[in-house]
Structures are given as C-alpha cells and as structure tokens.
C-alpha cells in the first residue's frame, strides 16, 4: 500500500480524561481533496491540531507527508500549510505585510518571497489589495488572505479548519471557487473540515466523524451508493400501465404517488435509457433524486449533521 499524504493509525486525544478523538485511522492519498465532516464538538479541530503538531496525541500514530508528527514536528510544520478555524490574521497590518511576515517565518528569501506573495495574492483574487489594512477587509477576503498565507511556502498538504465558517452563502461559494482554482493550478493535498454537507460533496474523499469516531470513510458517491439507491420520479400519461411495463420488462418495483411514479434503481444514469425504451405510454417528465450525505450521516449516527435527531427517514 502506498503511504498516503496523511496516514493515521488509531490516533487518540483526551483532555483531562475527556475523550475528544477516540482512535481514528485514516488514509488520505496525495493530491486528494479530503473532507472531514462532523457536527460541532466531533473532534475535527483536535484532529487538525494533532496532525499539525500543535497538540500531542494521547495515543496512536500519525504520519503527515511521510513524517511522524512526534518524531520530527519541525519538518512536518515546514511541509504543511494551516488555516485555523478562528481568524489569525493581524488586522493592524496590511495584506502584503501579513504575507511577508509569514514568508520570513518560513525562511523564504526576499526575492522569492516577493514573487510568491504576488502569486498567492493572485490565486485568491487579492491582487491590487496589497496595501489595504486587513482591518478594512471583508470576512471572506480575510479568509482568502489566510488561505493565501497557508499556501505561500508551497506546502504539500494544506489543512483548512472550517474554511467557510461564519460566512454567508455567497462568500462560501467564492471561497470554494478559489479552492477549486487552487486544485487546478497546484498538486496539493487538501484536508478540510466542515459541517456543511454541500461542501463535502465537492471533496474526492470524506470521512464522517461523530464524537471522536469515524463512522463512514469513502468517496461521497460511494457513501451514497452504500445507503441506497437513486429514485426516479416519473410522470406519464398512464401510471398504472407504466408500472406494469417496468415490472414486467425490467423487474423494477414502483410506488404510486399522487404526483406520479417512484422507482428505486441502483444507478439512475444507466436505468433511464432503459426506462424510456420500454415504456409505451407518453412520458411527461423524469426527475432523479439521489440519496444525500445527510441521510448517510443519519443512517450511521441516528442524527442529522446539525444535531437534530430525526426519528424517521423520509424517503
């Protein structure tokens, strides 16, 4: 097995006996966009603090960029970029000063630093804002500045702890646009935490955590496949005839609703052409509903991500 960019084996952390992370084993491949998805207090920030050497694990092992976080924390720190959950820009300095400060801490030479500061600012759309005091920037721009700062020393792994926390949907979309742009331009492993489901959908690989344990770990598509099937919502000229045809020719069971037929299939994309071929009645509309990650989380924890427990699955 190729060691991933991040590899942990039953990593644990307790705070004065309170167990925040209880034995997490992960394998994040190099170049992946990895999402660590969990509700408040699940242990996401604790996990990031351990992987970035700011917190000593109570047990287990963690390799980041091939290096054990306990053996050589300094080398790990050199190879990672980190954006904290809470804002950590210096609001009394300008954008450029914040970036230059960071560049020097990472040992970049003056010339190199100037070039990379410009590059990083460009990547997050802050070009031309160099001399703006950070205090006067909007929340999303400050976040983008932090991301730019985390990228300045060209780390192999970038940790983002809830990069869009506290931002409105428009600002969130903006951050994500820049993250996608980043993946496009650089080969980098991104480890991000979130409790937004739609953000997890953008990841190549997600792990769902709850109370310090991983409850599911796979690609978003695979996780959703695991819990269920796609649903096709059909509206036809004659629902009864359509249902009979689908059952006879394709062996598909369907359910009647007041507004049409519901058919469960494993993969809607391949099923729809067949459905259209066999049906002899007029088809007014076809709609596909895919299972959501929220349902996956609910299945494994009995709760939804925002903490509410929903007794029944609506399907």
């Amino acid at each position: 097995m190729r060691p991933g960019a991040i590899h942990t084996h039953s990593l644990r952390k307790s705070y004065q006996g309170m167990r925040a992370v209880c034995g997490i084993s992960l394998n994040v491949e190099a170049g992946e966009m990895f999402g660590f998805l969990g509700p408040n207090g699940a242990g996401k920030s604790t996990m990031i603090s351990m992987l970035s050497t700011l917190l000593r694990p109570s047990g287990g092992r963690a390799l980041v960029a091939g290096i054990d976080v306990r053996d050589d924390p300094k080398e790990v720190r050199r190879r990672i970029g980190l954006v904290f959950q809470e804002p950590t820009v210096d609001t009394d300095l300008t954008v450029r000063e914040n970036l230059a400060f960071h560049a020097t801490l990472y040992g970049l030479g003056k010339h190199d630093a100037r070039r990379r500061v410009a590059e990083a600012a460009d990547l997050v759309g802050l070009t031309g804002r160099g001399d703006t005091l950070v205090r006067t920037l909007s929340d999303s721009m400050r976040r983008l500045l932090e991301i730019a700062r985390g990228l300045l020393h060209e780390p192999g792994v970038l940790f983002l702890d809830e990069p869009t926390v506290g931002l409105d949907p428009q600002a969130r979309a903006e951050i994500w646009e820049h993250l996608r742009e980043l993946r496009h331009r650089r080969a980098i492993t991104v480890f991000l935490t979130t409790h937004h489901l739609e953000e997890a959908e953008y990841c190549d690989h997600i792990a769902m955590v709850d109370r310090g344990r991983v409850v599911a770990d796979d690609s978003p598509a695979a996780l959703k496949r695991l819990i269920g099937t796609d649903r096709i919502h059909l509206r036809t000229g004659d629902d009864q005839a359509a249902a009979a045809t689908l059952s006879d020719y394709l062996g598909l069971a369907s359910a009647w609703g007041p507004d049409g037929l519901y058919v469960q299939v494993t993969d809607a994309a391949t099923a729809i052409p067949w459905v259209c071929t066999v049906l002899r009645v007029p088809v007014h509309s076809i709609e596909v509903r895919r299972p959501s990650l929220d349902e996956v989380f609910l299945r494994y924890t009995g709760r939804t991500l925002d903490g509410a427990s929903r007794p029944e699955v609506s399907l």
Partner: protein, 272 residues
C-alpha cells in the same frame, strides 16, 4: 578530486541562524508597526509616568520637609514606569495572541520559539526605549543634568530593563492561563513590587519580612541601578537603598530576561 555536494554542518548552521535572525527581525518589526499605527496607545502609556513626575514629584515634594530633592529621587521610578508600560503591554499580548490565534499561526511555523520571543521582547525594548528617551527630556524638571554619557547610559539600561521585563511578563502569560487569571496575577504581583522597590519612597525601618521581600524583589536592583547611574552627576547624591555592585545588577537583569525567554520558549514548544 571529490566534491562534497552536501552543505557542511557549518554552512547549514549558519543558514539556520540567519533564518532564525530574520524571523526574530520580522516579529520585532511587527511590534513597531503596531505601535506606529496606534498613536493613541503611545500617548496613553506615556501619560502615566509624566503625571507621576509632575503631580507626585512636585506635589508630594512640596509637602515633604526638605522635599526639593523629591523629583530627583522619584526620577528613576518614573523611568521604570515609562519602560514598564509597553513592556507589560507587549509581554501580555502573548496571552491575547494565544487566545486570538495569531500566536498559533507563529507556532505552526518552522522557527524556534526563542526567535519569536526574542523578537517580541526586542520590539518591546525598542518601543520602551523610544518612550524613555522622551521622558528623559524631562530630566531637567528633576534637576538632573543632560550629560551625554549619563543619557546614553540610561538609554542602554532602559532597553535592557524593558527587554527583561517583557520576557518575564511573557513567561507569566505563557505559564498562567486562562487570560483573566493571568491579568489578575500580573496586577497582584507588579504593584507591590513597584512599591517595595524603593522607586517611590526610601525603604528604611521596615519590618524584617518586608525587608526580605525588598531584597528578593528584582525591581529593587533595577531602581538601584538607575539611581546609581544618576548619582555621580548630582550635586547632592542620595543615599541608596541597597548596595550591590552595579555589574551584578546588570547581570541579574540580563539573566532574568534570558532565563524568562528560555523558559517561555520551552513551555511553548511543548505541545499540550
């Protein structure tokens, strides 16, 4: 002929040292920028020692029998308060940064904690010394001559004292958490130390236990150091509270500063 492609231990060490020095330098620069961008803070921290000198020095001096010399007596204490204000503010900002997160941003960088702390203390020392120079301008009010050698010596001493105090306060900030506890501890330690240092009044005829506290108080030596630097330039030198060698006093101040930096760095580099 063989060429060793690997850089030698010495050149690696030198590069490392250069890296750390530059890191300390930007941290220093950041402190200066903060002060430069908040002129209100500068004025407020300057106001206190000036008020002490004018109000306490002249007011109290007029009440005391033969109190004409009181402003002179008070002057080392005024200098101490001048450097103390920014030293405490910047040392304590370690606690603020820890909570706000900027400290974590620095700690996750691959630099030695000693560089980060030393840069910060040097920043505080610079700010404090600049303010000290302004207050030195009032030396005439305390009947202290503006002799160039005296002024230079006082400036150097203030820089050293500010560095050591910042380091000590930063050590407290790193060791004592949460932040409100730290601020309470700071207030409850520093005020008695100033009163017991002989900065405001000569300490004589105290009960034994207070005298013991005075002898153990590092500020006593700091005040004594300043006082004895000034004494040779005065027409009527004051009797000193303690008589320890000036060199020892300098060494103790520098030692407290260095030790604090090292201990605080150790504490910071140990992940919780």
């Amino acid at each position: 002929m063989t060429v060793d492609a690997r850089p030698s231990v010495w050149s690696r060490l030198l590069r490392r040292l250069w890296w750390e020095t530059r890191a300390a330098h930007v941290v220093w620069q950041r402190e200066l920028l903060h002060y430069a961008r908040n002129p209100a803070r500068l004025i407020m921290t300057l106001a206190q020692p000036v008020v002490y000198l004018l109000v306490l020095g002249t007011g109290l001096g007029a009440m005391l029998p033969g109190g004409g010399g009181y402003p002179t007596y008070l002057f080392p204490g005024v200098l101490l308060m001048t450097v103390q204000a920014p030293a405490i503010a910047i040392g304590a900002s370690v606690a603020v940064d820890r909570e706000a997160g900027f400290l974590r941003e620095m700690l996750v960088a691959p630099v030695h904690r000693v560089s980060l702390l030393a840069g910060r203390c040097a920043g505080a020392a610079t700010v404090a010394t600049c303010q000290g120079v302004l207050v030195l301008g009032l030396a005439g009010l305390a009947h202290i001559p503006y002799a160039p050698e005296l002024m230079l010596a006082l400036i150097a001493e203030m820089a050293l004292i500010a560095f050591a105090m910042t380091a000590f306060v930063a050590l407290l900030a790193v060791v004592i958490s949460p932040t409100p506890t730290f601020h309470a501890a700071l207030g409850c330690v520093l005020t008695p130390l100033v009163f017991l240092s002989g900065a405001l009044f000569p300490i004589a005829g105290l009960p034994v236990w207070l005298t013991a506290l005075m002898v153990a108080n590092p500020l006593t030596y700091v005040i004594d150091l300043l006082r004895r630097t000034i004494a040779p330039y005065l027409a009527r030198p004051e009797p000193a509270a303690v008589h320890s060698p000036v060199l020892m006093e300098l060494a103790v101040t520098a030692g407290v500063g260095l030790l604090s930096v090292l201990l605080a760095a150790r504490r910071l580099s140990r992940p919780r």
